[in-house]
Amino acid sequence: MSARFPFSRLAAAATLSLSLAAAPALAAEVTLLNVSYDPTREFYGAFNKAFAAQLAKDAPGTTLTVRQSHGGSGKQARSVIDGLEADVVTLALAYDIDAIAARGLLAADWQKRLPDNAAPYTSTIVFLVRKGNPKGIKDWNDLIKPGIKVVTPNPKTSGGARWNYLAAWGYALKHNGGDEAKAKAFVAALFKNAPVLDTGARGSTVTFVERGIGDVLIAWENEAYLSINELGPDKFDIITPSLSILAEPPVAVVDKVVDKRGTRAVAEAYLKYLYTPEGQEIAAKNYYRPRDPAIAAKYKDKFAPVELFTIDQVFGGWTKAQKTHFSDGGVFDQIYSN
């Protein structure tokens, strides 16, 4: 190995060969199933190629096929619970993986097994508006003005919509000195401006982009960039609000499945590769905010600066947020039925 071999690559290779060494009889042909959520298709398409190439280098003779399944995050978790044999899950929010863990398919402390809460890349919630921003939408408080039509999916069914809802709530809390009642009134006013709730993030994007309904789409940052790229930068603008939520889409190995299929080593190496500079760079290119500071600095022009809060800071974690806001009879039901 040449001395000029980049250290990062070396580290990645070492991690890989270390974890592969743990599997004494590695089959020459390995398949992994990655069950993911909607907007990660392009990202994992590129990432799978890069990882397969890396694996072929580190463990010659091994050919890896990574199969993908995409859908709404909650629905995908449900499928894994019902028996879809995912070696790894890469979903929109920790709550969905917790649901799988609750059925005993993976260890309850899965989020501690990888760095950064097992979320190798992050995203946030931004606004997509019509070109030139005719309604002058700049921040969350513009969304509750009368006559503004907001498009967002239904928080009961969509993981992305829950991030949207919590981001708005966090903004309202901060601007009202932590007054929960005022935050509730703010979010209620926002949903009053959102007459149609699609079941998933992709459905809302199609409503806004294809059907031309609404003045503003509340969306994942990566989803917003994706739709601009696919459908024309001449039609939409991305508005980053002053304050938003740090969305951490987590990843995990499904213990029961990898132990049964004998794919644990490769599955773990696969997820670890997400944290290498190569993996981080592919994430950044696909509009996910990288964790690695060096890669983040390299792509800093791509992502507008925004003050971010985490779900743990404001809501005390997903389980609590889910129970307070989105369970039957929770806050969302109260404000939306009125």
């Binding site: 199933l33 995409h70 499928s79 619970i81 019902d82 028996g83 044999e85 059925r103 992709r202 199609v206």
Partner: protein
């Protein structure tokens, strides 16, 4: 109802003008044209029907092909030769082949039993055959998840034997068989009942065995109706979305059928590719339609009785 004198029926015709030879021939036969509306009304009604069909069926069908070829023939071929698209086409054909075969066997057996024999529970069987028509396909899919899923009723034995049903080929085939269940049987039962058992009785009294009676008398009598049922069954099997979507798991290149693949492509902004695959599915439907028309004329020829 009181009897009407034949001339009273001819009356309206007379006002059309002098009776032609053809009209006289019809009235002598006791027939008359079934329509009495003025030509303008007839033309207007026909135009409305045609406009409706054109607008809601013809135009969308045309648009599928226009969208499919919008980006040129090369892009069309590329969309169809994509590995995931090829896998979807293969899976769709395989699932259709298996479910049609299963339903032909079941349909023949069931309709033969129902039409030629009397037994307890017959009306229950007829009702069961019709069940898939009244149950939503999504519910049908969910039933299989509840039955074969890893939280389901049969989870333990399936896991012990390492048998995969849902999120794999068997589940997709089962869901498809469920929704296409009635097509063959529903086509055969009325025909077989109509034909009665006289020919079979004759064959048996002449010394034919049960098998040869079935293959040389019963089957040839219903072959066109059977083919017609197969056609309908096949069309539905290839086009089924709801039930298959629930049990598929949406693994690309593995458990996506053509309708599921079309939806995925559309959701991922690959409109051209999505319409390309859709056009292929539409083409299969058109072939089915032509075959159906031919079969219908055959059926009409064979059933002047």
């Amino acid at each position: 109802m009181s009897t009407i004198h034949p001339t009273a029926l001819v009356q309206p015709l007379a006002s059309d003008g002098p009776p032609t030879l053809a009209k006289q021939a019809r009235t002598q036969n006791g027939h008359r044209p079934a329509r009495t509306e003025p030509a303008a009304v007839r033309i207007a009604l026909t135009l409305i029907a045609l406009a409706f069909l054109g607008l809601f069926i013809g135009l969308p069908l045309l648009l599928v092909f226009v969208e499919a070829f919008k980006r040129g023939f090369a892009a069309y071929v590329a969309a169809l030769s994509d590995p995931d698209a090829l896998a979807a086409i293969r899976l769709t054909l395989l699932v259709a082949a298996i479910s049609v075969t299963a339903n032909v066997i079941f349909g023949l057996v069931a309709s033969w039993a129902i039409a030629k024999f009397e037994f307890a529970g017959k009306s229950l069987l007829i009702t069961l055959i019709d069940l898939p028509f009244s149950v939503s396909p999504v519910v049908a899919g969910l039933i299989y998840v509840l039955l074969f899923g890893s939280q389901g009723l049969l989870a333990a034995p399936l896991q012990a034997w390492d048998i995969k049903i849902i999120f794999a080929l068997p589940g997709i085939v089962l869901a498809t068989i469920f929704v296409t269940f009635p097509f063959v049987a529903r086509e055969l039962i009325p025909l077989m009942q109509d034909q009665g058992t006289a020919e079979e009785e004759a064959a048996i009294s002449l010394g034919a065995s049960g098998f040869s009676t079935f293959f040389r008398v019963t089957l040839p009598n219903v072959k066109w109706a059977l083919l017609y049922g197969v056609l309908l069954c096949n069309a539905r099997a290839m086009g089924e979305f709801g039930a298959v979507s629930v049990v598929s798991g949406h693994v690309r290149g593995l458990t996506n059928t053509m309708p599921l693949h079309i939806e995925i492509l559309y959701n991922e902004y690959q409109f051209g590719a999505s319409f390309a695959v859709a056009s292929l599915l539409a083409l299969l439907a058109l072939v089915t339609l032509i075959a159906k028309t031919i079969l219908e004329s055959r059926l009409a020829e064979e059933e002047p009785r």
